[in-house]
Subunit: 349 residues, 2 copies
């Protein structure tokens, strides 16, 4: 941490003033936080008899976010959501946040404030406390590092390994919306097909810029022991399913006709002439949860999900590793799942 | 975390392979680490009935480190030490490390491996486990984010606030060596004065490139309740003493004649014609501990330090806030402490 005055971010952006402003704005009194921002390290009282979850991400301008398509508040919101979603995928409860920020010479205080505002907006519903961080100059673009600490009851963490042959493969929500939203942001000129109604456009762009981390669903799956494995969809179904299969040493078959699609995503696909299931398979950053469930728990899973108002959809079945990872097309043909993992923004240089 | 294959760091540097290599090399079986690298988040069993310490740093090429004066292993070592030192200054025990790395297009796997090797070399004496991280592309230079988690017994953390008027001001080790080492690295052409013996030169350069985090001293100060406040010297005495004074709402008087100087630092100052105490006041990154001790504990502090083989030196006294922060010169004159905090490398652009 060491939130000191040593690095001038820019002549107008003094680290120390910034840290103070952020401290004043976001530090909350809390019995579990003995000391937040402003010492050599944050001091917290961890929840008793819980396992701890720790996740960190380092995000680079031009690679993970693009200032041409996202405002600073949206970038902050998405960066925090990506980490909250990692905790959700473990079945955990997020607790504390630490933020590192490298600010280019032309960075302005308003932009920094917007970034923090976006991050804290994503964290607020989960009562996550900002307890520390580091602000420095960058000789290049913006870099954001986020570390999130959470907890989970002992022996209740959901891992990527654990899927067993015969398990049902499920996802929450709908898939492909974030990629559709991103494509809408990137192509300002409009498309060849009929125009997308503004309401649907706004909804898809919102799904990209302000995604949801499914903390409550993850905790429910963990508490009720309903999932044998879980991951969040940050890379897209193709890539993330592969992680589950590799870690669990199994194969999978996905029923393309079963992929849950939003009306907006379907309408977007029609305007562009593309296949909505392709968006669902390749699209990343939906931050829905992908998980597997034992056959004997599936009826209870689906019943309880309805009771809680959670949307879960069975999209396939865990197969033996030798079967590989396949998709079943609507006409019944089977073929290997294409490796079209979503690569976000490639490096711009 | 999400150590996934989504971002290509460079054509030859695939994130997924890198994560796997690092995982294989540094993951150790450990009853406290349920899951390290390779899931959505790391899962650890925290030590029972301890407070937790969390610190994070984001380091930028050209700002915090310079590839012209440091190799990758040294950069890694120093980056890890900076964080270990934050835990030392809290009186804590470091436990887990998470590393985020943004790699420029021309980054090579060898360099990444050297960085990790340096970081783990600094951590090994303290049995700190690498439990997670993130690797991605950078459209600019190298960026390193480090998050370190530690623990401290309840009510034993050492804070910056807590210094009281009349307390003695102490430092561990000697001051100014790291800045002398850096100046030696930066001026290859040699100086005007007599040449520095190679043995002293190597020692000073080593103090800059391979500093020590004083974990054992911090724990001792905490366990024995010997310090009323503490900070580590990362910005230099001028800057870090100011943090103690601001947080504790006190002033201070530093006796320049008492500043502990190494023979090498004195010899270096003579070759350059500069005042060694100026190096000690302004120099940063010594990672010595600066702390304050009640008058009634000072005899025990100094006696026990000798028993343990710890070097501690009293360099001044805590004064009322209205007195400001002053230095007493060898001739007895007093003047305000200059604000010459060490600013590391300024941004290179």
């Amino acid at each position: 941490m060491a939130p000191s005055a040593r690095h001038k971010a820019s002549p107008s952006l003094r680290e120390f003033d910034l840290i103070r402003t952020i401290h004043r704005r976001y530090s909350r009194q809390d019995r579990a936080v003995i000391r937040g921002i402003g010492d050599d390290a944050a001091v917290v009282i961890p929840p008793a008899r819980q396992w701890h979850l720790l996740t960190t991400d380092l995000l680079a301008e031009g690679v993970h976010f693009d200032l041409r398509t996202s405002g600073f508040a949206d970038i902050g919101f998405r960066a925090a959501t990506a980490n909250l979603s990692d905790i959700a995928a473990m079945g955990g409860t997020p607790l504390y946040l630490l933020i590192g920020l490298a600010i280019p010479n032309n960075g302005r205080e308003l932009q920094v404030n917007q970034l923090y505002r976006g991050m804290m907006a994503a964290c607020r519903p989960h009562k996550v406390r900002l307890i520390g961080g580091d602000v420095s100059a960058s000789s290049a673009g913006w870099f954001i590092s986020i570390t999130l600490v959470g907890s989970v009851p002992p022996h209740r963490a959901l891992f990527r390994r654990g899927a067993r042959v015969g398990d049902g493969i499920y996802v929450t929500g709908t898939l492909g919306d974030s990629l559709a939203g991103l494509e809408l942001l990137q192509s300002r000129s409009g498309s060849a097909g009929p125009p997308l109604p503004p309401r649907l456009r706004r909804w898809l762009v919102g799904r990209h810029l302000r995604p949801t981390a499914h903390i409550a669903i993850g905790r429910w799956l963990s508490t009720e022991r309903l999932a044998t494995s879980a991951i969040d969809l940050s890379d897209g179904l193709s890539g993330d399913l592969r992680h589950i299969c590799e870690e669990s040493r199994v194969g999978a078959e996905i029923d393309v006709a079963a992929l849950p699609l939003s009306p907006a995503c379907r309408a977007f696909a029609e305007t562009g002439g593309s296949e909505p299931s392709a968006l669902a398979l390749a699209g990343g950053e939906d931050y829905e949860l992908l998980f597997t469930t034992r056959p004997r728990h599936q009826a209870r899973l689906e019943y309880e999900a309805r009771q809680h108002g959670f949307r879960v959809t069975r999209i396939g079945t865990v197969r033996p590793a030798r079967a590989g990872i396949r998709i079943k097309l609507p006409d019944g043909r089977r073929r290997p799942l294409p490796q079209t993992s979503y690569e976000h923004f490639r490096s711009t240089t």
